[in-house]
Amino acid sequence: MVKLSLKVLQDTVVESQIWKSIFRHGYTMNRRNRLLAVTNNVFYHILPTKITKYGMRMRFHWGAGIITFYLFLVLTFTGVLLMFYYVPIVPRAYYDMKDLQHVVPFGNILRNVHRYGAHAMVFMVMVHMARTFYTASYKPPREFNWVVGVILLTLTFLLSFSGYLLPWDQLAIWAVTVGTNMARATPLLGHEGPFSNLIGMKINNDIRFALLGGTTVGSATLLRFYVLHCIAFPIALTALIAVHFWRVRRDGYSGDVQAKE
């Protein structure tokens, strides 16, 4: 009988083709394996393979960007879970929200994490923007990444605005009424804005009409905002986050540069 020691068993596993097809580097802590662990990993790609301890100091970056991204992941996860119990039609929306609070197991904490997480993400994204500004991390070669960041900020606000309507309570309906009534005053595109008559904008064909899916906040609006909130804006946000991260990787951490003398 062959004595199966743990080492033999372990070696059989890690030398097998299946294991090697998944894990392309060894586990022992040497310089090569540490480098491969980062470069071979799609999620770790934000980090360079080597960075100085100085470059990662919290005093410089406050972790605001990574906190924002973490909050985005939390919102996506909680958001998908909420989707299992929410139907975006007028006879259901408010009552499904109430059911999530009182009937669904852990529904209340799920809804609260989503809602408060959204507030936190908006706050942190502004902290991140302020930090980037005050550390002058927008200067060349990082100017375009600042622009991408501004677009991300706009998308974050749009996600907040579209999500706000979904509970279909008084706050939601009136917030969207007021917001879209502001949209009708847009130059050219809104039917009450300057130059709107030049391209024949009326209440039923301007940008407010396209946003609401009608002339007032109603069932069409709820559905449109739901699709925008769950599908369109998150896809756009994800794509731009990828560009934003890639730019950081390409240009390096702005805090990793030793100040001259």
Binding site: T177, V178, N204, F209, G214, T215, T216, G218, A220
Partner: protein, 172 residues
């Protein structure tokens, strides 16, 4: 034939390859351009499932001279106002950003709680951020003597709003 039609670029003439390439890419652009235009048009529905704008507001006897009635406010979002000359409806949508203003009988003013716009009982905006007066709907009597209101057609300019169909003259 290398010497083709449209060889206006001087020495260079259009080859078969260039023509076919142009046609190919044009069809690509037309296809995706068409999809883009269709996608934009997609967001503007042709039929709206919104509530009816016409409603019956009782009979003239139900309203006193000098009264601003809130009886149709909750259901139809409109006040019915009667004065010496006749009767009219004010649509209760603030012309600033769309909140529902509140009628204060003790102050004889309509005030919007959102941003502080103030209106008189004839709809005129006198304070706050509202840029124009409140709108009046079309008001008429039907054959049975009921008051019929249509919020779909609106008018708020002084003069026009005091004439039929936005004002219904009645004997006191």
């Amino acid at each position: 034939m290398a010497r083709a039609i449209g060889a206006s670029a001087g020495a260079e003439s259009i080859t078969r390859r260039r023509l076919l390439s142009f046609v190919g890419w044009s069809s690509f652009a037309t296809f995706f351009g068409g999809i883009t235009v269709a996608s934009l048009r997609f967001f503007f529905p042709r039929i709206l499932y919104e509530p009816l704008q016409e409603f019956i507001a009782g009979r003239p006897e139900d309203y006193q001279v000098g009264e601003v009635s809130t009886r149709m406010l909750k259901e139809q979002r409109a006040w019915v106002v009667r004065n010496e000359q006749g009767i009219y409806t004010l649509i209760a949508i603030c012309t600033h950003l769309g909140c529902t203003p509140i009628w204060h009988p003790t102050e004889d003013r309509i005030k919007c709680p959102c941003h502080g716009s103030v209106f008189l009982r004839d709809g005129q905006n006198i304070a706050g951020p509202a840029p124009q007066p409140l709108f009046r709907g079309v008001i008429a009597l039907d054959l049975a003597g009921n008051i019929v209101v249509d919020k779909g057609r609106k008018e708020n300019q002084p003069g026009k709003r005091d004439q039929p169909p936005f004002f219904l003259p009645l004997q006191a």
